[in-house]
C-alpha cells in the first residue's frame, strides 16, 4: 500500500529549496495540476525543473516561473510563455534546450539504469557542441547523458492503492518515464480504486515506480481549442 496524501500541501511538504523535479505533461495535458499549485503556495525556490514545456503565463509551471521559483529548466519547447521570455533575456533563469526525443530518452535512461546513450538528433548542430560524437556504421551519433530527479510529480487517470497507474489518451506523454526516473515519485491521480480492481493487462506504470499519491480533481485547461 502506498501512502495517499490527504492534501496537495502535505504531498509537496518533502520538496525543499534547490530540489531537482521532473514534472509530467505535454503543454497543459497531463500535468499534475494540484501539486504544481501546492509548490507555488509553498514557495520553494531554486528549483531545477525537467519538463517538456513550461506552462503558460497563468497555469502549470508558468505559476512557478511567475514567482521566480525556477533556477534552471531542461525542456524541448518553451514558446508559450511571455514571463519565461523575460526571465531568459534578463538572465534570471538558466535554460537547457534538448531535442524532445533526446529529452524523453534521457529520462527513460535515468529510470532504466543506463547512464548515457548515442543518438543522431542534434549531430552537426549547436546541440552537439562540446559533446562526444562517435561514428557507428557510417553515421554520426552524439553522446547524451541520463536524467534523474529528486522528485517526479506526474499525473494519471486511475490508480490502485498499490500505485499501479493508468493514463488517459495523450495525457500519458512523459508521465510514465518520469515515474521511473524520480528518486521519489508522487502521482496525482483522478481516481484511486481498491487494489485488484485494475486489469493487470492495462497497467501502464507498474506500482514499483510510485512512492505516494494524491487523489485530485483536474481542471484540464485547454491551450488551443480547435473545433471543426
Amino acid at each position: 500500500m502506498k501512502h495517499i496524501f490527504t492534501s496537495a500541501d502535505e504531498a509537496v511538504s518533502q520538496i525543499q529549496d534547490g530540489a531537482t523535479i521532473m514534472v509530467g505533461g505535454f503543454g497543459l495535458v497531463g500535468i499534475p495540476e494540484q501539486l504544481i499549485l501546492a509548490l507555488e503556495e509553498k514557495g520553494v525556490k531554486d528549483l531545477t525543473v525537467i519538463s517538456n514545456n513550461c506552462g503558460i503565463d497563468d497555469w502549470g509551471l508558468g505559476l512557478l516561473l511567475r514567482k521566480k521559483q525556477i533556477k534552471k529548466i531542461i525542456a524541448s519547447y518553451v514558446g508559450e510563455n511571455k514571463e519565461f521570455e523575460r526571465q531568459v533575456l534578463s538572465g534570471e533563469i538558466e535554460v537547457e534546450l534538448t531535442p524532445q526525443g533526446t529529452l524523453a530518452e534521457r529520462i527513460r535512461a535515468g529510470g532504466a539504469g543506463i547512464p548515457a546513450f548515442y543518438t543522431p538528433a542534434g549531430v552537426g548542430t549547436i546541440i552537439s557542441d562540446g559533446k562526444e560524437v562517435r561514428n557507428f556504421n557510417g553515421k554520426d551519433y552524439v553522446l547524451e547523458t541520463a536524467l534523474k530527479a529528486d522528485f517526479s510529480i506526474i499525473r494519471a487517470v486511475k490508480a490502485d492503492h498499490l500505485g499501479n497507474l493508468i493514463y488517459n489518451k495523450t495525457a500519458q506523454n512523459f508521465n510514465p518515464i518520469m515515474a521511473a526516473a524520480g528518486e521519489v515519485t508522487i502521482a496525482e491521480v483522478e481516481e484511486i480504486v481498491e487494489t485488484g480492481m485494475l486489469d493487470p493487462n492495462m497497467i501502464q506504470s507498474p506500482s514499483i515506480y510510485i512512492q505516494s499519491m494524491l487523489q485530485a480533481k483536474q481542471e484540464k485547461k485547454i491551450e488551443r481549442l480547435t473545433v471543426r
Binding site: 505535454f26 524541448s76 514558446g79 552537426g124 487517470v157 495523450t170 488551443r224
Partner: protein, 219 residues
C-alpha cells in the same frame, strides 16, 4: 475560390504520401496537408506527443482536453489509433518506422541541411521534436515559401541560421518548384504554373541541376 500558396504547397506535398504510410506532419503549414489527404489512401498520422492515428478536429461535443496533437490543438482519433509514451514515440521516429515527415523550413542548403528552429537575436522557443524527426523518418520533405518576406532566397548554398539537421532533407516543395536533394546536388524537378525555370533560378541562391524538369505543373 483561389487557393493560397500555403494550400497549394500542402496539396502538392500530399502527393508524396503513399497508401498505408505512417506520416508525421510538423506544426504550421505541414498540418494543412492533413486536409488534403486523398480518400483513396489510408494514412496513419503520428503525433509525437504519443499518438498514432490522428483524426479530424473535434466537434464542440467531442472536445477532450486530454487529447491533443503536438501543436497542442484539440483533436480526435481514428479507429485503430494507439497511445504511448514520449520515449516510445521518439523510439519509433528514430528507429526509422515513420515513412514520411513533412516539416516547415526557414532555410535549406545545397547538401540538404535544414534550419527551422532558431533565429539568433530572437527569442529561442526550442526545437521540440524537429531534430529527432529529421534523423528518423525515411523521407524528409520540407515545405516552405520559396523566398523570405523580404524576397531573399531560402534555398541557399549554406544555411546561415543554426541547423536543425545536417544533410537530412530529401525534397523541398515551395509555391514555385519541387526540388530533390540528391548525391549530385539539388535537382529541379517541377516548376509550378505561373513560374518559369528562370524565375526559380533567380530566386534560389543554391545551384540547381536543370535536366529533367516538368514545366507548368498545376497545383
Amino acid at each position: 475560390m483561389t487557393l493560397s500558396n500555403r494550400e497549394r504547397i500542402a496539396i502538392r506535398a500530399e502527393k508524396e504520401i503513399e497508401h498505408e504510410n505512417y506520416v508525421n506532419l510538423g506544426i504550421g503549414m505541414p498540418t494543412l496537408v492533413a486536409n488534403y489527404i486523398s480518400p483513396d489512401k489510408t494514412v496513419i498520422l503520428q503525433s509525437e506527443n504519443g499518438l498514432l492515428g490522428i483524426g479530424p478536429y473535434p466537434t464542440e461535443d467531442q472536445v477532450d482536453p486530454d487529447l491533443i496533437n503536438a501543436g497542442k490543438e484539440t483533436i480526435t482519433t481514428i479507429p485503430g489509433s494507439s497511445f504511448f509514451t514520449s520515449a516510445e514515440s521518439f523510439a519509433m521516429i528514430r528507429g526509422g518506422h515513420i515513412d514520411v515527415a513533412i516539416l516547415g523550413g526557414m532555410e535549406v542548403s545545397e547538401n540538404g541541411d535544414l534550419a527551422n528552429w532558431m533565429i539568433p537575436g530572437k527569442m529561442i522557443k526550442g526545437m521540440g521534436g524537429a531534430m529527432d524527426l529529421v534523423h528518423g523518418a525515411k523521407k524528409i520533405i520540407v515545405i516552405m515559401d520559396h523566398v523570405s518576406k523580404d524576397g531573399s532566397p531560402k534555398i541557399k548554398k549554406e544555411c546561415s541560421l543554426p541547423l536543425t539537421g545536417k544533410g537530412v532533407v530529401n525534397k523541398i516543395i515551395t509555391e514555385r518548384a519541387l526540388i530533390e536533394v540528391t548525391s549530385r546536388g539539388l535537382e529541379l524537378k517541377e516548376v509550378f504554373e505561373g513560374y518559369s525555370i528562370q524565375d526559380v533560378l533567380q530566386s534560389t541562391e543554391a545551384t540547381l541541376i536543370v535536366e529533367d524538369v516538368k514545366l507548368s505543373v498545376s497545383l
